[in-house]
Symmetry: C2
Subunit: 148 residues, 2 copies
C-alpha cells in the first residue's frame, strides 16, 4: 500500500497520498463559492436579481450567513452589490457559475446513467460536483455519448 513500492530510479512524478489530500482540501475551500455563484446565477435568471433573503432561503442558512459569504464573494471579485440592493455576478463570477452548472448537470446525468435514482443523484451531486476534475468530466462526456 505504501507509495514507494517498486520506486523507479528515474524522475517519474509520483502522486502521493499527501497530494490527493491537499487537492481535496484546496477544493473544499472553493466549493462554497461555487454553490453561491451557481445559485446567484439561477436567481438572477429567475427574478432579474439575487436578493440576500432568497439566497439564504435556498441555501438553508440564515441571512447573516449569506450576507457574510457575499462579502467574501465581493472581496474575491466574483460579485458586486450596493447596500440593501440585489447581488450580481462579475464576469469572473458568471464564468464560475457557468462551469459549475455544467459540471452539476453532467454529474447528475452520469449518476442516473449508471442506475442511481434521480432523487439520490440530485442529492449526492450537490457535494460530488465540486471534486470532479476536468479529466473526469471529459470521461463522463465520452461515456454518455458513446452509449445506447
Amino acid at each position: 500500500m505504501s507509495s514507494d513500492d517498486l520506486a523507479p530510479e528515474d524522475a517519474v512524478t509520483e502522486t502521493t497520498d499527501a497530494d490527493r489530500f491537499t487537492n481535496a482540501r484546496a477544493i473544499r475551500s472553493t466549493a462554497l463559492f461555487e454553490d453561491y455563484t451557481e445559485l446567484i446565477a439561477d436567481l438572477t435568471e429567475e427574478f432579474g436579481e439575487a436578493r440576500i433573503t432568497d439566497i439564504a432561503r435556498r441555501l438553508g442558512v440564515t441571512h447573516p450567513t449569506a450576507n457574510k459569504a457575499v462579502l467574501r464573494l465581493k472581496r474575491e471579485g466574483l460579485a458586486i452589490s450596493r447596500p440593501y440592493r440585489g447581488v450580481f455576478l462579475t464576469e469572473a463570477g458568471v464564468a464560475m457559475a457557468k462551469a459549475v452548472k455544467a459540471r452539476h448537470r453532467l454529474v447528475v446525468r452520469l449518476l442516473i446513467a449508471v442506475g442511481v435514482p434521480p432523487e439520490a443523484a440530485e442529492m449526492d451531486a450537490e457535494g460530488i460536483e465540486h471534486y470532479v476534475s476536468e479529466t473526469t468530466l471529459k470521461a463522463f462526456e465520452a461515456y454518455l455519448d458513446g452509449r445506447d
Copy 2:
C-alpha cells in the same frame, strides 16, 4: 427551475434546494474524520500503530494540525491515545474506517469502469467518496456487477 412548479395539493414530501445544501454541509463536517480514521487504519495495519508524524505526513499537514484533529477524534470517541504514543481506533473508529474504505474503493472502481483514467479516479475519489449515499453506493455495486 423553481421547486414549487406544479405544486400538488396533497402531502408529498418535496426535496428542496435547501435540503440538498444542508445535506452537503452536514457531510462536509464529517469528511475530515472519515479521512483520519481511514488513514489511521492503514497506518496501524502497516506499522502496528499510527504515529502523529506519519499521519501528518500522509495528509500533507503539519503535525500540530494532526495532533489537534486527533484530540477531536478522541473527544468524539473514534480514537484513543496516550501522550507521546501512537494513536489507535476505537470500535466506532474501526467501523467508520471500514465503511469509508469500502466506499473509497467502490468509487474508484466505478470511475474507472466509466472510463476515468486510474490516476484521476484516485485523485477525485478522495473528495467524492464522502458524498456518496447508501442508495448511490448500491447502484454502483449493481452497475459493476451487471456489466461485462
